[in-house]
């Protein structure tokens, strides 16, 4: 198809503003899929996503639309992940498009992710079509939202399209606007091939399936290609488009969105953001914006049963096939045995991996509290990236420590300004800016340590603003901080898996909270168990789990034997699941206790 009739676009929105519903409706009204097929084919979400009410990412889809001008258009709808953990992937998806439908909830107005996504779209010079959704709701206030779109985003509020993705009202006008307002892709067929990988999947038969947008040139089966980041070359097995499943086509040309397979064995060789070019006639420089993704959050993952170590490794390897951002390496803990240090893009990514390990692979795991990556400058000048408290050099060898900071954007009704500022200060935030979006809502920006965000910042924010606040953040880089390593001793023995790195001013408080929490989690043993929080040799806090003094059945007669034995068996099962540290049995929850103490 000639590029003049191609429209590549994505839908961007704050969570719950109706992105998925609008996508459903567009698919339905272009007749591409029945609602049932959509469930099965297009919205191929994991159960996990459905349960959490979040959509990580949908498969792209190609649609055909006959516009009012009587012409037929090829629409490629590319989805964007709706979570800050995956903001790099969002940016690559946007880079594959010329336009974006910016969906705003008519009852909520602009939220933090609306803003973050809209700015990102503007950065990529996308044509933005503002859409005010959920106009069927009684509390809808489209005029207020229009004004916000104008005041906050600097877009023409009057051009915003009104719709109800739920009822289908206004969707036809959106389809028409896509043809009219979003520009067709540029790029010449005769130029050397340049294609952007905006997603990739692993298929056990065909290897990596790279989802691509052709910027210029053409690509077809049999062609020799080169991937820019690795320099590796492959022969293309197949190219195709996203119809009902993957539909092979002879060739993909400029502006088109499709896929390719080329017997690429490792998903790390076809990273999101990389450029594909012709091996024999390469472009001079890659497409802009490629970044090698580095994990932001690390935690230890250990099998509950030592015998599951290999199963855990194999499961992580399998997950990694489809998840280039997941990294892991073997790690040994005196408390938890053999396991892995795993790196993730963020907390959601971490939780998803943990849950998939349990659900899809049946590995029962113990996860330690997550931490960020610290930058350590040693006294000898060497700079280390430390992804685990256990790897921190002794204090005498540390010249300085730095931790990652983010710029957090918080949108909140003005009555909660105080609450937000108080919380941000508590979390070591540095005030950056505040502006009113309208009479009643403000946008507050703070620079915050990422480590504070990964604990309960968002939960706290939600609870202190009665659910009204929305949050988004951007990575700023490492900044020096006065950090110390807090160790936990149980029955006199340090438990490596419980060590955390904290700000020195908060060490006392957190140490006390942590030992209190551990005292409530560790069951009474046959002897007193002291729990101490220490920095070096200095004890900050101490609690004791008092020895168990009475655990006996008052009655055990003929009728009780079996029933009571089953109770004891349950008790024994529970004990078996605990981790033995020295003489002390520690339940698994204890290793996550640090998350609950702030």
């Amino acid at each position: 198809m000639d590029t003049a009739h191609i429209r590549n676009f994505c839908i961007i929105a704050h969570i719950d503003h109706g992105k998925s519903t609008l996508a459903d409706r567009i698919l339905e009204q272009t007749g591409a899929f029945s609602a049932r097929e959509m469930q099965e084919q297009v919205l191929d979400q994991m159960d996990l996503e459905r349960e959490r009410g979040i959509t990580i990412k949908l498969t792209p889809v190609r649609l055909t639309y006959r516009a009012n001008d009587g012409q037929e258009y090829e629409y490629n709808l590319i989805d964007t992940p709706g979570h800050v953990d995956f903001s790099y992937e969002v940016s690559r998806s946007l880079a594959a498009c010329e336009g974006a439908l910016l969906v705003v909830d008519a009852t909520q107005g602009i939220e933090a992710q609306t803003l973050a996504n809209a700015y990102l779209a503007l950065e990529h010079n996308l044509t933005i079509i503002p859409i005010i959704n959920k106009i069927d709701l009684p509390s809808a206030n489209p005029d207020m939202v229009k004004k916000e779109i104008e005041d906050v985003l600097g877009l023409d509020g009057d051009s915003a399209l009104l719709c109800s993705a739920k009822t289908g009202e206004g969707v036809e006008a959106i389809l028409q606007a896509i043809a009219e307002q979003i520009p067709p892709p540029q790029g010449k067929e005769e130029d050397p091939l340049a294609a952007l990988i905006f997603d990739s999947k692993f298929d056990s038969y065909r290897g990596v399936i790279a989802y691509i947008r052709i910027m210029q040139g053409t690509i077809k089966a049999g062609q020799n290609i080169r991937l820019w980041a690795t320099g590796k070359e492959y022969e293309v097995d197949e190219v195709g488009v996203f119809g009902r499943g993957l539909v092979p086509v002879p060739v993909l040309g400029p502006g088109e969105v499709g896929y390719l397979s080329a017997s690429i064995k490792n998903i790390k060789d076809a990273r999101v953001g990389d450029t594909i070019t012709d091996a024999d006639r390469p472009v001079a420089k890659p497409l802009p914006g490629y970044r090698h993704l580095r994990p932001m959050v690390y935690c230890g993952l250990y099998p509950q049963e030592a015998s599951d170590y290999n199963l855990l490794r194999e499961s992580l390897e399998k997950l990694q096939l489809n998840d280039a951002a997941l990294v892991f390496e073997p790690e040994t803990s005196t408390a938890l045995g053999f396991g892995f240090r795993c790196g993730f893009l963020g907390l959601l990514h971490m939780e998803i991996v943990q849950e998939r390990l349990e659900r899809e692979f049946g590995v029962h795991i113990i996860a330690t509290a997550p931490n960020v990556v610290y930058e350590v400058t040693k006294t000898d000048g060497e700079v280390l990236q430390v992804d685990s408290p256990a790897k921190l050099p002794p204090p005498t060898e540390i010249e300085s420590l730095a931790e990652p900071f983010v710029r957090a954007t918080i949108i909140v009704p003005s009555e909660f300004i105080g609450a937000v500022m108080e919380l941000s200060q508590e979390k070591r935030g540095i005030y950056h800016n505040m502006e009113y979006l309208d009479e009643s809502r403000v946008l507050i920006t703070y620079d915050l340590p990422l480590s504070e965000i990964i604990f309960d910042f968002f939960d706290q924010l939600k609870s202190r603003t009665r659910g009204y606040a929305s949050l988004d953040y951007d990575y700023l880089g490492h900044r020096a901080s006065d950090l110390v390593k807090l160790d936990i001793l149980i029955n006199g023995e340090p438990v490596d898996a419980l060590s955390i790195i904290v700000h020195s001013e908060r060490a006392q408080y957190q140490g006390r909270k942590l030992v209190e929490r551990l005292r409530s989690l560790i069951p009474r043993q046959l002897f007193d168990v002291p729990i101490q929080a220490t920095i070096g040799s200095r004890v900050l806090a101490r609690e004791t789990v008092k020895a168990l003094r009475k655990d006996v059945l008052a009655k055990c007669y003929g009728g009780d034997v079996t029933r009571k034995r089953k109770l004891l068996e349950k008790q024994k099962e529970g004990k078996k699941r605990m981790k033995q540290v020295g003489n002390v049995e520690i339940p698994q929850e204890a290793f996550m206790a640090v998350l609950k103490v702030k």
């Binding site: 046959l526 168990l548 003094r549 009475k550 655990d551 006996v552 059945l553 008052a554 009655k555 055990c556 007669y557 003929g558 009728g559 034997v561 079996t562 034995r565 004891l568 068996e569 008790q571 024994k572 004990k575 078996k576």
Partner: protein, 380 residues
Amino acid sequence: MMSQGPALYIHVPFCVRKCYYCDFASQPYTSPMAEGYVSALEQEAEHYLTSWPQGQEVPSVYIGGGTPTVLTPQELERVLQVAAAFPRVAGAEWTVEANPGTLTKTKLALLKAAGVNRLSLGVQSFDDDLLVFLGRIHTASEAKTAWDQARRAGFDNLSLDLMYAIPGQSLKLWRQTLQEALALAPEHISTYSLMIEEGTEFARRALEPCPEELDLAQYREAQTRLEQAGLSQYEISNFARPGYACQHNLVYWHNEPYLGLGPAATSYLAGERRTNIRDTISYVDSLGQGCLPIAERELATPELAQAETVILALRLREGLSRPRFARQFGRDVYAVFPQAIDRLMALGLVTMDEFSLSLTAKGLLLANQVALEFLPNNFS
């Protein structure tokens, strides 16, 4: 040739009303239900009696509940006849549980005439407020009256049940209850720490349990007072004058066979534990259709039988007899559980000599922790 058979237990699943702490199989008494129950019990007994080996005798009989004495004299008589139909060892102990609120002279005479030689009275407390709190149907003075009547009816082996660690029960109140109990000169006393069991009224009310310190103090108080009065502790919760330990309950703790009749009753026969249907109506229906009312059967593996033998025997102050264990299983208990015993001795929870393995004073209070060491690991 006479041989010793299983001990006999009969469960009577009725009460005037359920006490707030009780998780036993029992329901309020109704006449039609009781009639159905007694007939079904007769059928169940008949089944075992038709195949009863020649010359086999039961070493003890125990009729418990519920409240056996809630039955009418006629119904009670039929239940006693069921028990009497099983050949007994000469002089065998025959206990019936009685609630002070339901014991009448008529019923006492009936029990005596049938051959019952031991009564266990559920007194629980001599404090009227606590009795109300527990949901008991009698007062302290009614309990004393019932006790005197039992004595006058000629019962010279009486036991009473007491309860401690009741929320709101002070050490002083407990001491008073112990004193009043001892004033009755019982042959046997059971003292039970109140446990809040699932499914009970107390559990429903989410009752805050008694503080551990007080529970322990009350336990020690009972040990001291009762020993002083000549009732020595022979089991975790049981005290008796010399020669008055409950023979029937010793069968359980020695892990010897017993036959249980009635709803929810359990049997331990030829290494198999059977539990009857708990619901009285289903129990009656099952027998009405000519089926034994067994809900669950579990054949103990030798491993489990060994563990249970140790766990049950450790409840006794005398502990587990090593020669008896060796006779039963062909191996010494230390050869079977070397690590468990070593660990528990190191922790000061058990003590062992060449004749026995028993709990220390500390171990007595931590019997569950001890039991965990002996339970097999890969249970089903």
